[in-house]
Amino acid sequence: MSKQTRRPITVALAGQPNVGKSTVFNMLTGLNQHVGNWPGKTIEQKSGEYRRNDRVVCLMDLPGTYSLSANSEEERIARNFIIRQKPDVVVVIVNAAALERNLYLVAEMLMLPLPVVVGLNMMDVANGQGVQVEPHVLEATLGAPVVPLVASKNQGLGELIDAAERVAENPALFSPNRPAIRPEHQPILEQIHALIAGQVPPPYPEDWVALKLLEGDTEIAAMIQQAAPQAWEHVHLLLMQHEDAYLDIAGGRYEWIGRMVRAAVVRPRAGALTLTDRLDKIATHPLAGLALLLGIFAFVFWLTYTLATPLVDWLDAGVISPLAEAAEIVLAATPAWLSGLIIDGIIGGAGTVLTFLPILLIFFAVLGVLEDVGYLARAAYVMDRFMHWMGLHGKSFLPLFLGFGCNVPAVMGTRILEDRRARLLTILLAPLVPCTARLAVVAFLAPAFFGKAAALVSWGLVAGNILLLVFLGIVLNRLVFKGARSAFIMEMPLYHLPNLRTIGLFVWHNALAFLRKAGSIIVVFSALIWVLSVLPGGDIHHSLLATLGRWLGPIGRLMGLTDWRMMVALLSSFIAKENTIAALGILYGTNAGEIGLATRLAATLTPAAALAFLVVQMTFIPCVATMAVIKQETASWKWTAVSVGLLLLLSFLAGVSTYRLSHLIGW
């Protein structure tokens, strides 16, 4: 054949959670990926391109799901994508070491009218456990291509795409061994099929819809109820008589799986303790596991302080200050307002915020490692009993933990909670988790305010936020949410070595998001603050900003913040938490050379007021981006207002009592 560009193919990448699906996706697409949201949903959508020779392969990374029922938003997204968008082929990644459980998704996938290729991943893990899997035997029994992979070592991925291309070119040749329903329910399935025949909205396949109806699928039931109300009445009656069908269908799938793997898998009887078993003896122990979790927390903060702080200082003194000086020379001939706007406004504000980059990079790198090695699920397990105090369960800990990076993904991460009540409560609590932006402000100010005690104070601030969070959780649960708890059901993945590429991409996407924020909203805000600080007369002490700050004076004085500039700095954190520093940088001036901003600030505040300032900063209302996702996720202005109001009150009370208490002990 002549060398010409061939038709691009679309491959949907499916798989249960914890099978290395994202490793496969990252290995194939690298930086050629687009991360967004599914239309109208807040679940992350990743797509990417893999080019080779004369072919473009468009990969769509479907959410990780255990099945294709309507149990979760992820499952609805995955199946609706496959049915409506009709990719050329679905590649299902399975874990060779836990094939029986993983083939459940394959069993469901084969019921859809699309070619399926199975990527048999983690072959190294399976071999390490003494499990022998024969891909060819499995391929023969399934009637679908099976490609062995070690995605973390980039083994087999080329062959996987080869197989996908072959199937995509000749879909007619694809005739898999599809799981059949148990004989006792076959007549009912046929009855349902006959009732809905010709009335199923395209492109939904009729036999699949009939099966899902028998399973009791709520989404499909609603669809048929609307599309064919008369048929639905009969179907509904039939279903009422066969409510037990679900377990039978699921059981039938596992029996089918048993037949598929019988010849293909040889498993040693009662294996020795694996590494995961041994590590879990500690990581999931109620006491040792908790100690480990606290130790990891301490390590993360220690790492941030020892690694990132010198880098932040270096960026501040070695990059931003020289940049301001250089700009001064370059802009000497321009009007004063322009050089003021650029040097004092944008460089002093947004530039200072940019120096936080090392803190974010280190935090997200550590978070990425913890997630990738499989530890975070253990943290959720250990925290389950404590989350019960607040009427939540272990899974709520994961979005909250994510909040240490940024509150926006934390609020969005509550999607993993199945129950609306638990979601709402977790969303209300999330802003009390100090994000990297707030921690960066603390990391910047605490050493200047408290010298050697900075680490201790920072720890205390974080602990204070967590105590407030637990307190608020208990109170809200008692007073507002009096309902029942939702189910805690969560898989614990195997521990494995971190994949540098996966972590690298995670850090890269987060750093990019930060730089975008610094380059847009924070630049605009810095410029705005500067303008407000010079208008109307050019003198900062008689500016509009000063008027606003003085107007807030009475509140500030209650917590020892007598300088209006501190109140403005607090208010400005509503736009973005880093703005506190940006605003202080503008209001107190940056081009100081030897004496840094933090040192100058320390001179103007008493220790009690400085502590109160940091406490308010840590507990203040969520930033505008977080507030926007709270509105989006709760779909309610009322709950958004409740969130902001609660935190406003809480931070005010916390600030005042901190100041008063510090005074009592003689600060």
Binding site: Y66, S67, S69, N71, A97, A98, L99, E100, R101, Y104, R182, E215, G216, E243, D244, Y246, L247, D248, A250, G251, Y254, R267, T276, D277, D280, T284, H285, P286, A377, A380, Y381, D384, R385, H393, G394, E418, R485, A487, F488, I489, M490, E491, M492, P493, L494
Partner: protein
């Protein structure tokens, strides 16, 4: 009807008598059992069965400390169940009087 209790349709092992069934949460670490009954409504049943908890499946309890969640090995994977959820999975423990 919200309750979807279903007797095991499997005939591979002898049918268990009612008194030999125990809640999964009552098993100690290291104990094995066979899932016989899921009592917890359709959503619960649907979620756990996709994870392998289905009548006839063998399970091993890995961790079970007092009031916290229970860690269970099922189909070569590890699944954490909250205490309430572990109460809803009825298992038969072989070699037990």
């Amino acid at each position: 009807m919200s309750k979807a209790e279903t007797e095991s349709p499997s005939s591979a092992t002898s049918a268990p008598t009612e008194h030999s069934l125990r809640a999964l949460s009552e098993l100690e670490a290291g104990q094995q059992g066979i899932v016989r009954l899921l009592s917890g409504g359709k959503e619960f049943t649907s979620r756990v069965s996709a994870l392998g908890f289905i009548p006839g499946t063998e399970i091993t309890v890995l961790e079970n400390y007092g009031r916290g969640p229970v860690l269970v090995a099922v189909l070569e994977t590890r699944v954490a169940l909250g205490r309430g959820e572990a109460n809803k999975v009825q298992v038969e423990v072989p070699n037990e009087a």
